[in-house]
Amino acid sequence: MPRYIGKEMSRVDGVAKVTGRAKYAAEFRAPNLAYGFIVLGAVAKGTIKSIDTGGAERAPGVVRVFTHLNAPRLGPKASHEQSPPRAQEEKDKSFRALQSDRIYFNMQPVALVVAETYEQARYAARLVKVSYNAERHSTDTEAVSERGRFPSQGPPPKPRGNPEAAMKAAPVKVEAEYRIPVEHHNPMEPHAAVAVWQGDRLTVFDKSQEVYNVRKHLASSFNVPEENVHVVSPYVGGAFGSSLRPNYYPALTAMAAREIKRPVKVVYTRTQMYTGHGYRPHTIQKIALGAEASGKLTAMIHEAVHNTSTFEEFSDNTTGFTRQVYACPNLYAPLKITDTDLNTPTWMRAPGAVSGMFALECAMDELAYALKIDPLELRLINYAETDPESGRPFSSKALRECYRLGAEKFGWKQRKMEPRSMRDGRLLVGWGTATGIWGAFQMPATARITFRADGTAHVASATSDIGPGTYTVVTMIAAEYLGLRPEQVKFELGDTDLPRAPAQGGSWTTASVGSAVHGAALAVAAKLLALANREASSPLKGAAAADVEMLDGRLRLKADASKSVSVADVMRRNHLAEITETFEARPSAERRKYATMAHGAQFVEVKVDPDLGTVRVARVIEVTACGKIINPKASHSQEIGGVVWGIGMALQEATEIDHRYGRIMNPNLQHYHVPVNADVHEVETLFVEEDDSVVNPLGVKGMGELGMVGIPAAIANAVFHATGRRVRELPITPDKLL
């Protein structure tokens, strides 16, 4: 029986966070620290004609003003004419600041003012005067959607079966277009870096989801060996994908620090975050579904196009999961991207999946109404028993149980099919459902465990904890397999001095890093077994590593707990104060025989004021099947957070661009709305645990993204059920329901 895995545990870093002891990037100090403030440009495309830094340079406390005129070139090809580099052989095309006079997007950094204090830098930043040779820009994805092209990475999409013919022949069809605006992550913590050079060695305190990637980016920026760069990011106050890539500020900060020979700190303002990292792209989707009268899908055509920048390709895999949700012999699901004069989009919580599933799951609801079949029933009719794309079996898939449990908890049976048929006083009541899907990914990851004779352990892996509770879940896994109590385990992460881990993204951290920690713990036990069995009197003679386990200071036979040795004694007799094992976990070959996915079912009740168009998400039941749940407390928290994100996406979030200027006009939290407490009502999250020995040794699948995937569609479907209005363009604000 596991002692910790599967049981609720409060966050091991919780006290540090609420007492302020947890240090975030901007809180690191260095002697003689100078403060940088970024100046943003004011046109969407063109060149900088002139830039007058005189006023800023004369302002009190100003140390240096950097512009493209005096900033050194960054990157492996320091000679290139313009940044970002566009050469095909150049892999890292990420935007680097102050590299040329070229403007690629509005609110692009055009200067960095460094001063003795933050306020001095911010004030002087206002005194930098920039004039531009503006060029015609194009920031409206709607206007350039016809120019979409297939991403150059990956093969061009191939149809399955003959979707066009099947669509033509289908007795029942629906066809519709769906739109999602640009959306921004808006984590609480602003992005920040503190850069310190010692000779040609660089230390950067950063807010990052992948310290190794930032290290690589900085090393190539400054042409120093990667070993010379140390990136530290112990705590992250939310990121949601906005810190998956290095962004431009760490290199900018390090550049300034190198030039003025002092440590420098740069912190984004909320406004600067809107172009200081990527965003969920503006996405236009056309869906056509064909079905038999029985509800059986015969054709699915899901075409998406979203924007990217002019200098980098980003594709969101918008239609990827469409291929794996429902059993359908004929399918075509291409994704195109189109250039805009905006900065590059990036992954934002449930990237691609939530966008694609918003469209697909709304279209399924439309099909249900066209067929006059209950929307949940329609999903069951088209349930994929095996992966429709590869034909492979699922390593586990408890989606049917999710539907069943969710429907029962929600009371779905009482739903009246007809729109506008349910009321609560004057309010219209709507019930909607949708399916959630996400991949059960695993990436190579390494962890190191130092097990000490005093019965404590140090665990290390350079992953990140952007909020899901990685500190805690890794501590639990280590404690479980080392037979220790959690308080005897100390886990460190977010530091390039630690073993390499993948980005914290894709909901793969527990599967990847957790498996590495599990492997390292077993290696410790195996080492102890070998040491113990050097002794003739060992009661574990003949036992294999798989036969033993560690518990409360003893190594014992799983089958017979009376056969055991004292770990401390074994180590003492071998003159060992500690044992260190490093383990790299990789996805197994076995996985390739299966489709490995996580699923969920969402049931949403909305109440709509028919006169005022206001929508309240009154009740949500979210049922998730994502393998084994290690820490139910943090896991429920993840799913609740996913629901809240779904509410924001469905009803509130939109980055508004004035295309005349190509400029974001709501880059702040007063104009860009995210849900507040008053928008969140009853949310119940449930798990249907799956026993999956294929996905990874721990049997876990990710859930951080999955929790939001189906929510926007479920809300939109509920709004349709309540009002009879099918809103296909997010967000569903009151004006769209009048």
Partner: protein, 328 residues
């Protein structure tokens, strides 16, 4: 932000004199708006006169009504027994605004001085006649979903964003102000804010250096039948798409006196005397209110993205009146 001189005022007279003496000086009270605007470089005072030590915080019965100190906090005002009992419309309006944390800081005088939330006003790289006279109006041909449908000019289509002032107008409040020369005057709540005309840089009819000392509410018979309705993009902590301060004085089932003030639709709280006239003497009913609502929105001139405000405004007026009349 830009460097500025900070002066803590010792009494109202000194405060008014200090601001009057410097064209670039401004009063500082709760700071919930001006400090944000200074950080954004929208407001650029070189001197702030801090009023928060002045004793203008009292809320007291006066002449049958209530006098509210300009520096009383929004929270204290909304929760004061005299306000809750006699002017529930004001309580509702105040708590509909901002968040509890902001209301704890914000003062009544400062609330009246709150500036527009137009996105173009906030972005110093964009044209805005209110921020920089002569630079043009970014919102007129740009994003204007949250902008005015009444009283705008081609110089400015911004709205006054506050809630409290809409209720004050409906309740016939007056704003007491004191000039640098010591002279006091009162400004009716409905004349406190201005339409943009050719001078959108001026939000109010205050003279430079005039200090708000109190808000005075006359005795009111609206307490039984009033309602503040705020329609917004989320349940809390958002500015009104449309707000309605509705107040009725009933005579049995008939309306004796009515107030209908809309917020979020103009550069100032927007009162409809036509709607009010159409209510007087009529039975309180959905039909009566629908007719009044139609009149309240008559003459609206929506922009490219805010035509919805006309219909939403009508529906909001009906709803607010129905609630005020306790019919919904």
């Amino acid at each position: 932000m830009r460097p500025f001189k900070y002066v803590r005022a010792s009494d109202p007279a000194a405060a008014a004199r200090a601001v009057a003496a410097n064209p670039n000086a401004k009063f500082l009270a709760g700071g919930t708006n001006i400090l944000d605007l200074m950080k954004e470089d929208v407001e650029r005072p070189d001197e702030l006169i801090d009023l928060t030590r002045l004793k203008l915080t009292e809320i007291k019965a006066a002449g049958g009504g209530v006098s509210i100190g300009a520096l009383a906090r929004n929270t204290d005002t909304a929760n004061h027994p005299l306000i809750r009992r006699n002017y529930p419309l004001l309580t509702q309006a105040i708590v509909a605004g901002a968040s509890a944390q902001l209301r704890n800081m914000a003062t009544n005088g400062g609330n009246l001085m709150q500036r527009t939330r137009c996105q173009y006003f906030y972005d110093t790289a964009m044209p805005c006649n209110k921020r920089e006279p002569g630079s043009g109006c970014g919102a007129l041909g740009g994003l204007n979903r949250i902008h005015a449908i009444f009283g705008w000019s081609d110089k400015c289509v911004a709205t006054y964003p506050g809630d409290m002032a809409n209720a004050l107008y409906a309740l016939d409040a007056v704003v007491r102000v004191r000039g640098a020369n010591g002279r006091e005057r009162t400004i009716p709540a409905g004349e406190f804010h201005r339409l943009p005309g050719d001078t959108p840089e001026r939000d109010t009819n205050l003279q430079h250096g005039e200090l708000i000392t109190a808000i005075e509410l006359p005795k009111s018979d609206f307490a039984k039948n009033s309602y503040y309705l705020k329609v917004r993009d989320r349940a809390s902590y958002a500015f009104a798409l449309v707000a309605v301060a509705a107040a009725l004085e009933m005579d049995g089932g008939r309306v004796r006196t009515a107030r209908v003030v809309l917020g979020g639709v103009a550069h100032k709280p927007w009162r409809s005397s036509e709607a009010e006239a159409a209510l007087v003497g009529k039975p309180a009913s959905q039909q009566t209110f629908e007719r009044a609502a139609e009149l309240a929105l008559k003459g609206a001139r929506p922009l490219a993205h805010n035509a919805y405000k006309v219909e939403l405004g009508e529906r909001a007026v009906v709803r607010a009146l129905m609630r005020a009349a306790r019919l919904a």
